[in-house]
Amino acid sequence: MGAPDQLRIDSRQEADRVVLALVGELDMANSPLLQRSIESPELQETKTVVLDLQGLTFLDSTGLRIILSARELCWRRGQEFAVTPGSQQVQRLLSVTGVGEHLRTLATADEVLA
């Protein structure tokens, strides 16, 4: 079983933002997939990057670190960065580490940033 099989990343471009929807499980084995998506050229010019975690069923500390580095990269580029809530397990990890408090969270990927 190849590790990347457990994660799919659907990217969609909207007016002034790119939404990366994570579907499946994000862990040490497949976090490079997310890293590559975040560094892709299509993300460089957009105003806002949204990581849609609604289809994410598992997240570990490695994946969380990649999400934080994505936020840093967006900040350095002057972009807005936001996430949507993931599964109960994902929310638990965000809350136990305190990272959730530092992430801008939208109710859904369709919500417009104020």
Partner: protein, 160 residues
């Protein structure tokens, strides 16, 4: 516990122990070996996904609650990830049940130089990179034995 959930990791085995553990990488001051049925599953880096599924199936079958099961799965995964990264690339997962709790133990060849480290509260971003610290937060008890010969991390979850 049913061996059927071990299909993915077919080299897992159920063993009953009475004497001391003989493994080569046992810490010099290893944790006391429990008596009774223990399920042993060796793993490597490519097995983490299946390892999570296996722990989830076992804990669910043992009637641990949904949220507690997710926490146990994450805890085992984080410690197993450390084995893959820092503990020689492979490890042994052991699962057993006592009267009141489920216990998961991971043994590997790594050396945890500061077993008390996880108890210090790091900042939230540092927390994200510390699997062992996360494990401490989501288990009812974590026991660690470590020496240059290897490490054991034993995670306990109460059955309510």
């Amino acid at each position: 516990m049913a061996a059927s959930s071990a299909n993915a990791l077919s080299n897992g085995r159920l063993c009953v122990t009475e004497g001391p553990l003989q493994d080569a990488c046992l810490p010099a001051d290893g944790l006391p070996r429990p008596r009774g049925d223990i399920w042993e599953i060796p793993f490597a880096g490519a097995d983490l996904f299946e390892l999570r599924q296996l722990v989830w199936s076992w804990a669910t079958k043992e009637a641990l609650g949904g949220e507690a099961t997710e926490e146990l799965v994450l805890a085992v995964h984080e410690v197993a990830t450390n084995s893959v990264r820092h503990g020689g690339g492979v490890g042994m997962l052991r699962l057993w049940r006592t009267g009141e709790e489920l216990v998961c133990e991971i043994q590997d060849a790594g050396y945890i130089r500061d077993p008390l480290g996880p108890r210090h509260l790091p900042g939230s971003e540092a927390a994200a990179s510390r699997g062992l610290w996360i494990t401490e937060q989501i288990c009812d008890l974590v026991e660690i034995a470590s020496s240059p010969r290897g490490s054991q991390v034993r995670m306990h979850k109460r059955l309510d």
